[in-house]
Amino acid sequence: MATTARARPGLGITGSSGRAPAPLVRASTTPGKLRFLLAGLVVLCLLWGAVAALAAGQHASGAGAVVSTSEPLSLDGQRIYRSLSDADATAASAFLAGGLEPQAVRRRYLADIAQAATSLEAATTTAGHAAAQPDLATLSASLPVYTGEIETARADNRLGLPLGAAYLREASGLMRGTLLPAARGLYQQANVELAAQSSQATGLPFALVALLVAIAVGLVLFRAQRWLARRTHRVANAGLLLASVAGVVSVLWLVVALTVARVELGSARGHGSAPVEALAQADIAALQAHADESLTLIDNSGDDSFQADFAAVTKRLGPGPGTLLAAAASAASGSAGSAAATAAQSGAPAWYAAHRRLRALDDGGAHSQAVASATGSGPQDSGTRFRQLDSSLDRSIAADQAVFQSHAVSGRDATAGLEAGMIALALIMAAGCALGLRQRLAEYQ
């Protein structure tokens, strides 16, 4: 074996030095090339492991956050809005009835408040991030004020005092001016998070980088083995073969897991959260119009602002091209909630017809009959028709919510263990490369 010292006579070193220190940079010799290859392959394997683990981690945390944070938060925000808006309309109609409120109306109000409080509690537990905190704080602070004012109104009503109506107006103003906007804000915030986390879970940048690195590693491994086979006249190197197998396994696992997650989360969005969002928009509009109907009957002032709001909101609600119900039905088309969404499209005109009869009664001076239609449960009553529309929308939301949940969970589970698996396989690859090349290197020493 050639020694470096002898090549440098000027240094005056005698030949007794024998074995030279290991050449570090002489890449032109075979051992030099081997050492260079060893270092390069180990670095590339570890780089692949890092990039693959990063990609897996990004996708898994996005999918996990969708399932455990933003989706429940969106659902809770929607439930809070629904129950508060219904409480507002129910409290108004309890007052409309005059005298002691009907028991069913009182129970409905109490159930709404209990649902709002439960969902608020759940949302507060779920929302770890700061963005939803101001809305949650507003809801938590104002809900007891609202219920206090409603109970004051109820107590004054029982004493026959007109002061009760003032407390009811104050409570309704708090609901419409503070509580409902906060609930809407919470819901919208959760949907923004949901979209961001979905795209993090299904986005391509990290996966593409990982694949580029995988191709580079594969090329180098392949050429290294071919070069080694020619140079050493041996067909296979066990270490490099192991590294190649581990590499192929890790690439296949990553590609399959991310593809499955992407498809599942795409379905969760397309057949789940997108229709739910469109249906929830329609439901919110329907609830607002319903509250307008009750408040028009209470506000006997000849001022038609609530009725004007009813007209504007129901125009947005539809059905008809470009309306919320049309958007909801088309988003829900082919999904589990499709049938109920279609029923809602025909339920809305039925309610509007009952509402027109109610308005005709009220405008014709038959106020108590109009009130009976608003609060009644007969098949022609406006109250019944609204509840049919509301329950159609509610059922389609629940059905699509379930679809979302199952797809999103499958998507999250597809990436389970992926990050750890990528790290482990990359370490195996690096170890295989190191073992295989050290074996060859030893033959030169």
Partner: protein
């Protein structure tokens, strides 16, 4: 949207009020010259010692430059619906449309137990319906805010307004009035634990009245240092008073008595500092309706029905009824 708007405004105002109240303790030394709480009639002096000795000018109580209390003379005899008159038009419609309050306890209020609108003003409306239809029940009540009364009359949305409405020269330029059917004057309602004894003690404090009422103007006229807070209904003022967002409510004594009846922890204090003759508001387009309503009121007062209603809703025994004055 109006209701929502003011409620949001009231909440915001309440927050500001709380901040203002927190910033500095309310100064409310009792005013030396304030008349005792029960005294009727105008305070003798035109000024009173305000907080920290400031002189607070009491306003001229009543602008009578145009003889506002004089209305159109009714035809002799019982009220009659003549052909082609406003009354004939209303009779053809089938019901009278009356703008009233749903929130002025004992004047005009929606009784939550019965769902009916009741009160002294409402009795007057039933008298008019009785005279047109022979049936006191043929009325459609439209609940108005105080600010909504004149627009409702001018647009023709209502035939008459019976809602504690003060007759004055400014309003007579826009609408017409019946003869006086109730005499009132402005006072102050406070919590029983308040040191305020009258309008003079309310400098730099928030005092509530309804938007579009004479009361909200007269607060500033009686005590320029007071801070008027305008809301749609007087019951809203009581809500604000109960929540400590205002220091007092100031309006006609009869309305304040109605508020005090709803909360035993409040009381009416101080002298009357304005004169407020109430009339039934009618559009200037309908002079024959003005004469007709005056005939109805004259019959109601002369027949003793007025006193019965006064005893029932306001206080018993009823005082001597107002003497109708006519300008023609």
């Amino acid at each position: 949207m109006r209701t929502r708007g003011w409620l949001i405004g009231a909440l915001a105002a309440g927050t500001i009020a709380a901040a203002v109240l927190a910033a500095g303790p309310a100064r409310s030394a009792p005013a030396g010259s304030a008349a005792p709480a029960g005294s009727a009639g105008l305070a003798g002096s035109r000024s009173a010692a305000g907080p920290r000795g400031a002189r607070v000018k009491l306003p001229l109580p009543f602008d009578n430059s145009c003889h506002p209390e004089a209305s159109l003379r009714p035809p002799a005899g019982a009220p009659r619906v003549t052909a082609g008159s406003d009354m004939a038009r209303i009779r053809a419609r089938g019901y009278l449309i009356a703008g009233v309050s749903e929130s002025e306890y004992h004047q005009g209020f929606l009784n939550p137990l019965t769902g009916q609108i009741e009160g002294f003003d409402i009795d007057a409306v039933h008298q008019v319906a009785q005279a047109i239809f022979g049936d006191p029940g043929k009325v459609r009540f439209v609940s108005l805010t105080d600010a909504g009364r004149i627009p409702a009359l001018r647009s023709g949305a209502v035939d008459i307004v019976a809602q504690s409405m003060t007759i004055n020269c400014a309003r007579l330029r826009q609408i017409d009035f019946s003869a006086v059917y109730f005499n009132d004057g402005q006072r102050v309602l406070v919590l029983k634990n308040s040191a305020v004894k009258g309008i003079a003690d309310l400098s730099r404090q928030r005092v509530c009245a309804t938007a579009g009422s004479t009361s909200v103007v007269d607060i500033k006229a009686a005590n320029p240092a007071a801070i008027p807070v305008a809301v749609p209904y007087f019951t809203d003022c009581l809500v604000l008073l109960q929540q400590n967002q205002v220091a007092a409510v100031s309006t006609d004594g009869s309305i304040l008595a109605g508020l005090a009846a709803q909360d035993p922890e409040t009381q009416v204090v101080g002298p009357l500092f304005t004169i407020e003759p109430h009339g039934i508001g009618i559009s200037q387009q309908n002079p024959d309706l003005v004469r007709f309503v005056n005939a109805v009121l004259a019959r109601w007062i002369a027949g003793g029905g007025w006193a019965v209603s006064y005893d029932r809703w306001i206080s018993a025994p009823a005082p001597a009824p107002p003497v109708a004055q006519y300008k023609d």
